[in-house]
Amino acid sequence: MAEPLTREALDAEMVRLAQGDRDAVPVVYRALWPVVVRYCAAFVGDRTEAEDLAQVSLLKLFEQAHDYDPDKPAEAWALTIAAWECRTFRSKRTRAEKNVDKMMRSRSQESSPNLEHEVWKRQAIDAMKRLVDEMPQVDRQALVDSFVDGLSEPRHRKRKQRVLERLRRRWKEIHGDT
C-alpha cells in the first residue's frame, strides 16, 4: 500500500490537479477518501451513508478542482465541501422524517375513527343477524312483513312493536346498553 501523503504533498498534488493534470486525480482521491469518509461518518453516524456522502463531496471537489486556491490547505477545502453535503443530507433527512411523521399522524387522525366505526358497525350487524336468526319463525316473518308496503294495519304494527321489544331486550341481555 502507498504511503499516505503529507499535507504539503497533498496541497502540491491539488495544485497539479487545479492546473488540469489528470495524473493527479487518483493520487488526490486516495489521499482524501479516508479523511472525508471518517469526517462524514462522524457527522451522520452511519458508514454506508458516510461513504455515499464522501463520494458526492469528492465529485463536487473534482468538478470544481480548477477553483482551488493554492494558498489554502486541500484537506480543509475537501472537509468544507463534505460538511456542506452532510448538513444538507441531515436537514433533508430531518425534513423527510418530519413529513412522514406528519403524514402518519394526519392519516391516523383521519382514517382511524372511520375504520373503528366501520368495524363496530359490521360487528353490530353480525350480532343482530345472529339474534334475528335465533328468533322464532313467526317473529322473523312479522319483522319482514313490517317492512313490506301495504301491511301497515294496526295488528301488524302491534306485532312488529312486540317483536322489536323482544329483540331489544335480548340485545341488552347479551351486549348490555351498547
Binding site: 488540469g20 486525480v25 478542482a65
Partner: protein, 180 residues
C-alpha cells in the same frame, strides 16, 4: 471484477473532465463575446476566422490546463489593448482599403499595440515565473484577440502585430534562458 474503489475513481475522473469541459466552455464564451463586440462594431466577416481560432485555442488551453491554461485569462485581458486600439483608430480616422493595402493607421497601430501587449505578456511571465509554454500560448491568444479588432484582414497589419507581440516576449525568454 470492478471493485467499488475503481468504480468510484472512474466517476471522480468523469467529474474532473466535466469540470474541465465547463472551464473550456467559458473560454469559448469569452471568445464569442469578443467576436460579437467586433461584429457589432462593424469588423469584416473574414476576421472571424481569428475568433474561431481563438475559441479553439482558449478551449483547448483551458481543458488541458497547465501553462497554456494559466495563460488564457491574462491573454484575454492583455489582448483587449490591441483589440480596442484598432477599433478606436478605425472609429477616429475611418478606414479604406484598395488594391495593395489599407490607407489607414492600421499598421502602425497594430505594431505599437502589439509591442505594448507583448511587453505586458513578458512582464506577467517574469512576475509569476512562467515557462515558455505560457509565453507562447499567451502571445498567440493576445495576437488572435487583437486581430479580431482588425476592420479587414490586412495581412501586413496582422503580421505587424504578431511581430510586435513576439519581440518583447521572445526577448524575455531569451534573457531567462541565458540566466538559467
Amino acid at each position: 471484477m470492478v471493485t467499488p474503489e475503481v468504480r468510484r475513481l472512474a466517476e471522480i475522473e468523469r467529474a474532473f473532465v466535466r469540470g474541465r469541459l465547463e472551464l473550456a466552455a467559458a473560454g469559448v464564451l469569452a471568445a464569442g463575446v469578443l467576436m460579437f463586440v467586433a461584429w457589432a462594431l462593424g469588423v469584416e466577416g473574414k476576421t472571424f476566422w481569428f475568433g474561431v481560432a481563438l475559441m479553439a485555442l482558449s478551449a483547448a488551453s483551458l481543458y488541458f490546463g497547465r501553462a497554456p491554461g494559466r495563460a488564457v485569462l491574462p491573454a484575454f485581458v492583455i489582448g483587449v489593448i490591441p483589440f480596442s486600439a484598432l477599433l478606436i483608430v478605425q472609429a477616429m480616422s475611418g478606414h479604406g482599403c484598395h488594391t495593395g493595402g489599407c490607407n489607414t493607421l492600421c499598421l502602425p497601430t497594430c505594431v505599437a499595440s502589439g509591442l505594448v501587449a507583448g511587453a505586458l505578456v513578458a512582464t506577467v511571465a517574469v512576475r509569476v515565473r512562467e515557462t515558455t509554454g505560457f509565453v507562447v500560448a499567451a502571445g498567440t491568444m493576445v495576437w488572435l484577440v487583437g486581430a479580431l479588432g482588425c476592420p479587414c484582414i490586412a495581412w501586413s497589419s496582422v503580421a505587424g502585430m504578431a511581430a510586435g507581440i513576439a519581440a518583447p516576449s521572445l526577448w524575455v525568454l531569451f534573457v531567462r534562458r541565458r540566466q538559467a
